[in-house]
């Protein structure tokens, strides 16, 4: 039973207490555009690597954030300089793209530098090895198939050998027929090797049979990440899925970042491996 279930149970019980709810629009002293947002996830798989720069928006505003133009974006390692060029496609406003870095990544520490309007934002990330995935298995989920729902559910499991030396953190994405299913941070699975044995068998996702057809190809991509990025995703999940729960523990605070000069977001360079499995329904 994970903490999600604990939260849910207690939250439901709290709803039984004598209280009322009133929707309000708070005066939040919003300051639009105050923060510089950097979304930089670099890996050794995609030919075109991109970094998105934007500004924060007002809390009640419907906006993905005003794109940032005319920034100078580079990733360096030693004497290597990889420049990211701003896209001039309307739908890619704020995106900066590089098509050569992925093939040149070598293990070690990379530095991101973003220069914009007389300010320089920097961050570092270590590019580390990632273990190969031994296998992907699809197993019937007994909990939800035991009568609480008519829906048949499957656990998607990943199996691999943990890296020696400890201190490893991983992120797992799910693809169905090569289409990313875990694009949002709260959909991703992050794993800390603190709770793992040398050989890892981990349930990544639970999917309803209604969302799958026989013959669908399920793919898992295993990515090495830093401890900081692991904590980034942990906090992101709680911020977006349980925000405002008064019984959640500490007051909310900003999601951690590895960027300097007050910028928010994250910079990460990851090595990725993947494996696939064809889905065949097992039945009740």
């Amino acid at each position: 039973m994970n903490r999600v279930t604990v939260y849910l149970m207690i939250f439901i019980l709290q709803m039984l207490t004598i209280s009322c709810e009133k929707e309000v629009v708070l005066d939040l002293s919003d300051r639009q555009g105050l923060y510089f947002v950097v979304e930089a996830n670099i890996d050794d798989v995609s030919a075109n690597q991109w970094i998105r720069l934007s500004r924060s928006s007002s809390y009640y505003e419907v906006s993905t954030g005003k794109p940032v133009s005319d920034a100078i974006v580079t990733i360096t390692r030693g004497g290597e300089n990889h420049v990211f060029t701003e896209s001039h496609v309307d739908s890619l406003a704020g995106y900066y793209i590089n098509s050569t870095l992925a093939n040149r990544l070598r293990y070690g520490t990379y530095q991101l530098t973003v220069e914009h309007e007389d300010r320089i934002y920097t961050a570092e990330s270590e590019y580390k090895p990632v273990p190969d995935i031994d296998s992907v298995t699809i197993d019937l989920n007994f909990f939800f198939s035991s009568g609480l729902t008519n829906d048949t559910l499957y656990d998607i499991n990943i199996h691999f050998r943990n890296l020696q030396g400890g201190g490893s953190y991983y992120l797992v994405d799910l693809y169905i027929n090569r289409k990313l299913q875990t694009g949002r941070p709260s959909q991703k699975t992050v794993i800390s090797d603190q709770d793992l044995e040398d050989y890892v068998s981990y349930s990544v996702k639970t999917i309803s049979q209604n969302d799958l057809d026989d013959g669908d190809m399920l793919g898992l991509a295993l990515r090495s990440i830093s401890r900081e990025m692991y904590e980034f995703y942990q906090v992101f999940f709680f911020q977006t899925d349980l925000s405002g729960n008064p019984f959640a523990g500490a007051p909310p605070a900003n999601i951690p970042t590895n960027l300097s000069e007050g910028a928010i977001g994250f910079f990460q360079v990851s090595s990725v491996t993947s494996a696939m499995k064809e889905f065949k329904s097992i039945g009740d």
């Binding site: 709810e21 009133k22 939040l28 035991s146 959640a248 900003n254």
Partner: protein, 803 residues
């Protein structure tokens, strides 16, 4: 203000360094000087005894014992005892108490005497009562400051929430005391957390003094005798909590007649029975109550609410036994439970249990003592049963306390007290078990802990210059030992957010792993500036070894207790206070102004984005640092006449600065409330009808609100300002109560009754309990924010009876 803080800090540092080097010498000098004090009282004598209700036999707390010939007097203790030092000669001694006829006796010329006095209740409690000059000037005369005694009669006359008279709601209206808020457990004193208040019921610790999320307290007013709150100048016999002591005594029962009292209302009912076991020698009291709000849920149109259960019950019992003139035995107990449940699917219950046994012994005319054995338990249980899946979390905390307290009258000007306390703590936050059919059991085992906490204290109350100056000075020494079985974690503290566990230490049974110790000086001074005014000052140091992990947004019944360790050192509070006290119109009106400054060391708080709920590595989510609070409190109070009431105002600030939280910057504590105003008044319209009004106002609770949002990987995440830099809307509400006593309260016949009509929150103010943010289902990307609040106005009717 920064400079003032620096000055206070330098004074503390100097004082502590001096004490550490000179403490033994200081005590020796004081003790020897006490023994050598001689004045014209040297050949005097003592009169001591107990003041009690002639009819019921119950002791009277705060009764006045006055000698008009020398304009000197004392008041009875919370056990009803008094000690009156007199010079050689014969004297008239007047015993008086509000609502009772006075009695006068002659004592002397020079012989220590034990005199137990019974007083008879006067005719009508609501009529104006004339009392002797010193009856109401205890606030001026006593060396105690930052302490307030509230009679149960005052509490009964205040507007009641849902018709229920409540001790904690009254306390929370006093200056310097704030409610944790509707729907939250506990209260705050001078900026301290809810777990920093030592709540005692017949000397046994009560860990959670709230029923139904702070809507009611665990104290049945029919079972309560005396309520006293200490916010400062705390006697060294108390220890273990930083901010306050709320000391409540249970009634002992009528020693002469059998009586039944009770009440029935819309939400709850209560019933008490008392009487003699052996007339004049022993008595009993049994009291119980239960709410039945969930019965009304059966009529709800909402199916989910119809299947919900929501109620509490509690039981009190006490036995008094007078063995002889020099020995008394008291045994009491409390048991209470809160229960919320939904069908057979989910259940959540919590509650306290206490047991107290006290032997009061008068060894000689100058030497008396109490030996007490106390037990306290608090537990909560959360369970879920979904058929093939189940979930269970049982947690409790227990302590067993052996207390010895002694008082020795050295001479007319010196009363010396001392004692030794030992507490065995057993903290079991519990094991969270989840099972799924066909799968293995999942458990999260929260760290269990055991500890021994010892305290030894010395204290002297000294009167100088004809009682124009009174000093109370004392020292408490405390030791805290963490004992196995249990386990402790070693953390890697280099992480940017979380500490990760690198090692686990398993403690063998009986193995002492950590030992903490400290000295806690206590000092109070009172200087009489005239017959009706005084200046007081006080200082105390308190050390707290066990604490509660609390959500900063709310105080909940499932907040677990944990103990000091190598990761979380004991918390320390140093408080200094100065006050001016003045009475008017022959002590009919009491006024006081106090200012205080409190410095906190090793104060703990949850890290940014911390996760404390059911976390087995709880210590890794906490950080320690410094805190400070300061403020000014004003009180005007009138307890006599047709109009009674009080007005209290507090201005205060409470801040913390802890590395690892809020980027190491200082921030407001969640219980920071700049302004806090309470007005309470009752007017006897006639002997049968009394109307009362309460008005409370406080600055909105400090809260962390978003100031924007970012878009990242297809999702929105809020961006927050500094911790607790925003405010919820200010809290205020007005309550009304009317009490109707047929026949005007004059007892005619054995059966008497009264009706109470009350309205809570007359104008329906929306006072938020919390703020919730969620995705707006109708407009993705636009958050939806909501207040949760207790609705109003809420009327209530209660019928009270006695026979």
């Amino acid at each position: 203000m920064v400079r003032l803080q620096k000055v206070f800090r330098q004074l503390f540092d100097w004082f502590f360094m001096y004490l550490k080097k000179r403490v033994i010498q200081l005590l020796t000098i004081c003790f020897l000087s006490l023994l050598s004090m001689h004045d014209n009282y040297a050949q005097g004598f003592f009169v001591r005894g107990t003041v009690f209700d002639e009819v019921t036999g119950e002791t009277l707390v705060g009764a006045n014992v006055f000698v008009p010939d020398i304009q000197y007097g004392v008041i009875t203790s919370n056990k009803g005892d008094y000690e009156l030092p007199l010079p050689k000669g014969e004297f008239r001694v007047i015993f008086s108490f509000i609502g009772y006829n006075s009695r006068e006796i002659i004592v002397g010329p020079a012989r220590d005497t034990v005199i137990n006095i019974g007083l008879v209740s006067s005719a009508v409690a609501l009529e104006e009562v004339t009392v002797s000059a010193l009856a109401a000037d205890r606030n001026v005369d006593r060396a105690e400051m930052s302490s307030i005694a509230v009679s149960i009669e005052t509490i009964r006359n205040m507007p009641a929430f849902l018709g229920e008279v409540d001790v904690l709601r009254t306390i929370q209206m006093l200056p310097g005391v704030q409610s944790a808020g509707d729907g939250n457990t506990g209260f705050f004193v001078r900026g301290g957390n809810a777990d920093q208040n030592l709540v005692l019921f017949d000397d046994a610790v009560v860990f959670n003094a709230s029923h139904l999320f702070n809507f009611f307290s665990v104290f049945n007013p029919d079972a309560v005798d005396d309520v006293k709150l200490y916010k400062g100048g705390i006697h060294p016999s108390y220890g273990g909590r930083l901010s306050s002591v709320l000391d409540i005594d249970m009634r002992g029962g009528d020693m002469e007649n059998y009586r039944v009292t009770g009440g029935a209302g819309l939400i709850s009912s209560r019933l008490s029975a008392e009487g003699p076991i052996q007339k004049g020698r022993s008595s009993f009291l049994v009291s119980g109550r239960r709410t039945y709000a969930d019965l009304f849920l059966r009529f709800s149109p909402d199916e989910n609410q119809r299947d919900a259960r929501l109620f509490f019950y509690d039981l009190n019992g006490k036995m008094n036994y007078v063995i002889n003139d020099r020995n008394r035995l008291f045994v009491s107990g409390y048991f209470g439970r809160d229960i919320t449940a939904f069908k057979d699917l989910f259940g959540f219950d919590w509650g306290n249990a206490t047991a107290s046994a006290r032997w009061n012994r008068i060894f000689s005319d100058r030497f008396s003592g109490n030996i007490s054995l106390l037990y306290s338990n608090y537990q909560f249980n959360i369970n879920g049963d979904l058929g093939p899946a189940s979930f269970r979390w049982n947690s409790d905390i227990n302590n067993i306390n052996l207390k010895t307290d002694f008082t020795y009258l050295i001479n007319n000007n010196n009363t010396f007290s001392f004692g030794v306390h030992s507490i065995y703590h057993m903290l079991d936050p519990g094991v969270i078990r989840a099972s799924i059919e066909g799968a293995s059991l999942t458990t999260i085992e929260l760290s269990q802990g055991n500890a021994l906490e010892h305290g030894v204290y010395l204290n002297n109350e000294q009167s100088l210059f004809g009682n124009r100056l009174v000093m109370v000075y004392g020292l408490r020494g405390s030791v805290f030992q963490v004992i196995g079985p249990g386990k402790q974690y070693v953390f890697d503290k280099s992480g940017p957010v979380n500490w990760e566990v690198t090692d686990t230490l398993f403690l063998e049974r009986g193995e002492i792993y950590d030992t903490f110790r400290g000295l806690e000086p206590r000092l109070s001074l009172r200087v009489n500036l005239g017959t009706n005014s005084s200046l007081k000052a006080g200082y105390h140091r308190m050390i707290q070894y066990i604490q509660q992990a609390q959500s900063a947004q709310s105080v909940a019944p499932y907040d677990v207790w944990y103990m000091s360790s190598n990761n979380i050192p004991p918390q320390v509070a140093d408080q200094i206070a100065i006050g001016y006290f003045r009475n008017f119109r022959n002590d009919e009106i009491e006024t006081s102004v106090e200012i205080y400054y409190k410095d906190l060391t090793n104060i703990s708080d949850v890290i940014d984005n911390g996760d404390i709920l059911g976390n087995e590595f709880l210590e890794g989510q906490m950080r320690v640092g410094n805190g400070w609070s300061y403020g000014a409190e004003m009180l005007v109070r009138k307890d006599q006449g047709r109009f009674t009431g009080f007005a209290g105002y507090t201005w205060s600030r409470t801040r913390r600065k802890i590395d690892g939280i809020n980027n190491g910057k200082a921030y407001y504590a969640p219980n920071d409330r700049s302004h806090d105003l309470s007005l309470s008044g009752g007017y006897a319209l006639s002997p049968a009808v009394t109307a009362s009004l309460n008005f409370v106002y406080s600055t909105g609770r400090a809260f962390t609100l978003p100031v924007g949002k970012m878009y990242f990987q297809g999702a929105f995440a809020p961006i927050y300002a500094d911790r607790n830099s925003s405010r919820l809307p200010d809290y205020h509400r007005l309550d009304l109560s009317v009490n109707y006593t047929p026949g005007g309260g004059r007892e005619s016949g054995r059966f008497t009754s009264s009706w109470n009509f009350s309205v809570f929150n007359i104008y329906g103010r929306v006072n938020p309990i919390s703020v919730s943010f969620a995705e707006n289902a109708e407009s993705p990307g636009i958050p939806r924010s909501s207040f949760f609040y207790v609705p109003g106005p809420i009327p209530a009717v209660t019928w009270n009876f006695k026979f």
